[in-house]
């Protein structure tokens, strides 16, 4: 189970502390390059990809499931976009205008939504466990992607899409702006919409949610559709930044997105997770990734270091958790016993 420290609001404070500590550490290790504006901008270009994938994973996990197919869906979206471009603009795809580009994005989004809807249907109506459904879909999509691309990289995307991925609005990278808008939207979605609120309740106890008139099945289908929409958003940025799509881009990101959720306080059993926690977790992961890259270490050493960092975070979390848990239990019991007596029984 998740260490308790990651689930409470005070956990976000801890995460914020961790973030500050890591920024300081990275700046100390890289005094020239890390704290520079250029680096900040560079990080804000990269953050959206990991962020969208993590958010897509988050909604699935909050519902009590998981979306193992998210990367495959992103790649699929990109490939569909390439297909649409080829169908509409033929060899002149690269010169295509915004209208065609938007059409391609629309096609990609539609493909992602279809994938999400199918997964959501299997999970909600046939009651196939989410881990299996998304595993199967991941395998299927990876295969489809491979069959379509035959392993080749497709490239030559139009200016508009490159702008989405690489452009700037003033001093701020466009992908970052999109991220900010999306995070704001998510904040509203999770706390203020019926679907968002239902999501948390159903993730924690789907049976009670059903008994409470919460349209469990519809919410689940929407959840996986939303998760896949995030995959599509990721694809838009990736396509824009890399000007190419391939059958298995970003495979390693799957595990990183699960990690971001875990750090951000999302219980894999469902029902918890704050957006604040997620944002902090994603930024922490991005900072660590960039900082470590700047140190020009062997990329595989960096990979091993990632693993070690996860373990250290787990260890730190656990120790802190013990103290907090004990303190919390005492306060709760105190509050109950001290509550004024009434005509009904007091606490247990």
């Amino acid at each position: 189970m998740i260490p308790a420290f990651l689930k409470r609001p005070s956990a976000n404070r801890t995460l914020a502390g961790v973030l500050v500590a890591i920024v300081v550490l990275m700046s100390a290790l890289n005094p020239q390059r890390f704290p520079a504006i250029g680096n900040l901008i560079s990080m804000s270009y990269q953050l959206p990809i990991i962020a969208f994938l993590s958010l897509g994973m988050m909604v699935a996990m909050v519902s009590g499931g998981i979306n193992l197919a998210i990367i495959a869906t992103a790649n699929f979206t990109g490939i569909v976009m390439a297909l649409v471009l080829r169908a509409v603009a033929g060899d002149a795809a690269e010169e295509a205008g915004a209208g065609v580009a938007l059409l391609a994005m629309g096609g990609g989004l539609a493909a992602a939504l279809a994938v999400g809807a199918v997964m959501g249907w299997l999970i909600a109506y046939v009651e196939v466990p989410a881990i299996l459904t998304t595993l199967a879909m991941m395998t299927l999509l990876n295969g489809v992607n491979l069959v379509i691309t035959k392993g080749y990289t497709l490239s030559g995307f139009p200016e508009f899409l490159l702008g989405v991925g690489n452009g700037m609005l003033g001093p701020v990278p466009i992908p970052f702006l999109i991220l900010v808008a999306v995070v704001a939207g998510m904040a509203v979605f999770l706390r203020r919409t019926r679907t968002g609120l239902s999501l948390y309740l159903l993730g924690s106890n789907p049976i009670a949610a059903g008994y409470s008139n919460l349209h469990v099945r519809a919410v689940l289908v929407r959840t996986y559709a939303l998760s896949s929409t995030f995959a599509a958003l990721t694809a838009f940025i990736m396509v824009g930044q890399l000007n190419s799509v391939k059958a298995n881009y970003a495979e390693s990101y799957l595990l990183v997105s699960v990690l971001a959720c875990f750090l951000g306080g999302v219980d894999p059993f469902g029902g918890t997770g704050t957006l604040t926690g997620m944002v902090l977790a994603m930024v922490i992961l991005q900072v660590v990734s960039t900082g470590v890259n700047l140190l020009r270490m062997d990329p595989f050493f960096i990979q091993a270091l990632w693993g070690l960092i996860i373990l250290v975070l787990i260890a730190a979390g656990f120790l802190g958790e013990r103290l907090r848990e004990a303190r919390r239990l005492r306060t709760a019991r105190l509050a109950q016993q001290a509550a004024p007596a009434s005509t009904v029984g007091t606490g247990p």
Binding site: V188, R191, R192, T193, R194, L197, S198, Y200, L201, S204, N205, I207, A208, A209, G210, Y211, S212, N213, L214, H215, G271, T272, R330, A332, R333, L334, A335, Q336, Q337, A338, A339, S342, T343, V344, G345, T346, G347, P348
Partner: protein, 496 residues
């Protein structure tokens, strides 16, 4: 009778709370002893000290006359003391035989499992209390009454001298309770003492040799059942007397809110017809497996009926989903509040408002947090839920308060028809009375209530009509005012 266990001047405090205040307690060999008290009275703490989970701050413990320095878990098991918790500590993925035998197999320490031995151990344990269960059944698929028997059998595989049962009948249907009580008597015949904690007064009276009442951390009285009755017991437990109220239905000419005709569902119920008028509380009783909950779930849309007609306020309605039911003004308070009624880890506010998110929308179709909070507070106050902050997780509340939250959440949906399924199960005496009073008040204000209950006494006191279901059909109707609990019971249990 010889003494088996003696506790002297036991004190136990948690931060700022003095849970046990100098308690003296004795248990005789082979006796059946019940522990009663309201939530928070200290009985759970006492049990934990006896079973070794907690250590007392001061005081002495004697087991079979020998002073015991500290009673840790392993030590208690070695002395023949076993606890069966409410969650039963069973392995749902293993068979009955394995669940029963696993403790003993572990004790014997063999690396390789002898499956014949496992069956033998299980069969011996079952034989001791005259039960015969399917050894190869997967425990997770068994009804809870049977699971409890498996847990008891497991306790029997060791040299059992004292069995502690923590609220064993809380979620058991009537027949299984009878079973359990006879098993408890059987244990006594083997010289095994049984200490059980219970809220259910009628069971306590049926089986206890001595009853100990706790209140506010002190042992208030230890008496044989013939020196106690319901009223005296409640007075000892709560320090108050409980006024006895009975429901009276005033308006015989009230409009019919619910009319059901010929409702059927294969393997659930058949040809059910009933009527509910505004202001009535109609009781629906019958054994588990008689179809009462199934009928309720059909009216609530969780498990829709296959044929028949339902009319609400005279208009025919189709109930194919919970949404349809709620739209028709039907609310259902489920029998299992932990799993069906509440999302335990979420706040009281979230739970209370879950059913009416559609009605809390403000600008842009978004839920208005101020209205949400206000609604929650309103209902918390109306039902007297004892909680200071609606944002605390509902799992921190007592059983009675939790039940009120479940009721509140459905009242918030402004139903016309309220179906209550076992609303006072596992709720202590005072909270039970409060809930009864509240429901009577609801009816007085025009709500049509269908009260599904196992307890005939509850039905007789709180309804004006009682419907009895058996084997999927409604077999009879009685007028509560002239019915006695025993009469109802007879009709419930009569062979078809």
């Amino acid at each position: 009778m010889e003494e088996f266990l003696r506790l002297e001047k036991i004190h136990k405090s948690f931060v700022g709370v003095h849970a046990l205040k100098g308690v003296d307690f004795t248990l005789r060999k082979g006796e059946i002893h019940c522990l009663v008290g309201e939530n928070g009275c200290g009985k759970s703490t006492l049990i934990k000290i006896i079973s070794g989970v907690l250590q007392p701050d001061s005081g002495r413990i004697f087991v079979e006359g020998q002073p015991v320095a500290s009673l840790g878990s392993a030590a208690t098991m070695a002395r023949g003391i076993q606890v069966i918790y409410q969650d039963l500590s069973l392995f749902p993925n293993l068979t009955v035989a394995e669940n029963i035998a696993i403790a003993e197999v572990k004790e014997r320490g063999a690396g390789v499992v002898d499956w014949d031995e496992v069956r033998r151990i299980a069969q011996e344990a079952m034989a001791r209390i005259h039960v015969d269960l399917d050894l190869d059944a997967e425990v997770g698929e068994l009804p809870i009454g049977v699971q409890q028997l498996v847990a008891i059998c497991r306790a029997l595989t060791s040299d059992l001298k004292l069995l502690i049962l923590d609220e064993p009948t809380a979620s058991l249907p009537k027949r299984d309770i009878e079973n359990l009580l006879s098993v408890v008597r059987d244990l006594q015949a083997h010289g095994i003492a049984v200490l059980f904690v219970s809220h259910k007064l009628n069971e306590i009276f049926a089986v206890a040799e001595r009853i100990t009442v706790f209140r506010d951390g002190e042992r208030v009285a230890t008496l044989p059942p013939n020196e106690l009755d319901d009223d005296r017991l409640v007075a000892l437990m709560t320090g108050r007397t409980l006024a006895r109220k009975v429901f009276a239905f005033a308006d015989a000419g009230a409009r019919k809110v619910l009319q059901v005709r010929g409702l059927s569902k294969r393997n659930h119920f058949a040809d059910v017809s009933l009527e509910l008028r505004a202001g009535e509380i109609v009781g629906l009783t019958g054994l588990i497996g008689s179809g009462r909950t199934e009928l309720a779930l059909a009216l609530f849309g969780i498990s829709p009926a296959e044929s028949g007609e339902i009319r609400v306020e005279g208009k025919p309605v189709q109930i194919r989903s919970v949404k349809d039911a709620v739209a028709a003004g039907i609310a259902y308070v489920p029998e299992n509040r932990l799993v069906q009624g509440l999302v335990m880890k979420h706040s009281v506010e979230a739970n209370v408002t879950a059913t009416v998110l559609d009605r809390l929308l403000g600008r842009l179709g978004l839920v208005d947090p101020a209205r949400k909070q206000a609604l929650a507070r309103e209902w918390i106050k109306a039902l007297g839920v004892n909680v200071s902050d609606p944002a605390v997780p509902v799992q921190t509340l007592s059983g009675g308060n939790q039940q009120k939250v479940v009721i509140a959440k459905w009242l918030a949906a402004s139903p016309r028809i309220l179906i209550l399924d076992g609303p006072t199960v596992g709720v202590d005496v005072m909270a039970k009375a409060a809930i009864h009073e509240y429901v009577r008040g609801l009816a007085a204000r025009g709500m049509a209530v269908l009260l599904i209950t196992d307890e005939e006494a509850e039905a007789v006191a709180n309804t004006n009509r009682i419907l009895v279901m058996r084997a999927g059909r409604i077999r009879g109707e009685m007028v509560a005012a002239t019915a006695e609990a025993e009469q109802v019971q007879q009709l419930v249990e009569a062979p078809s």
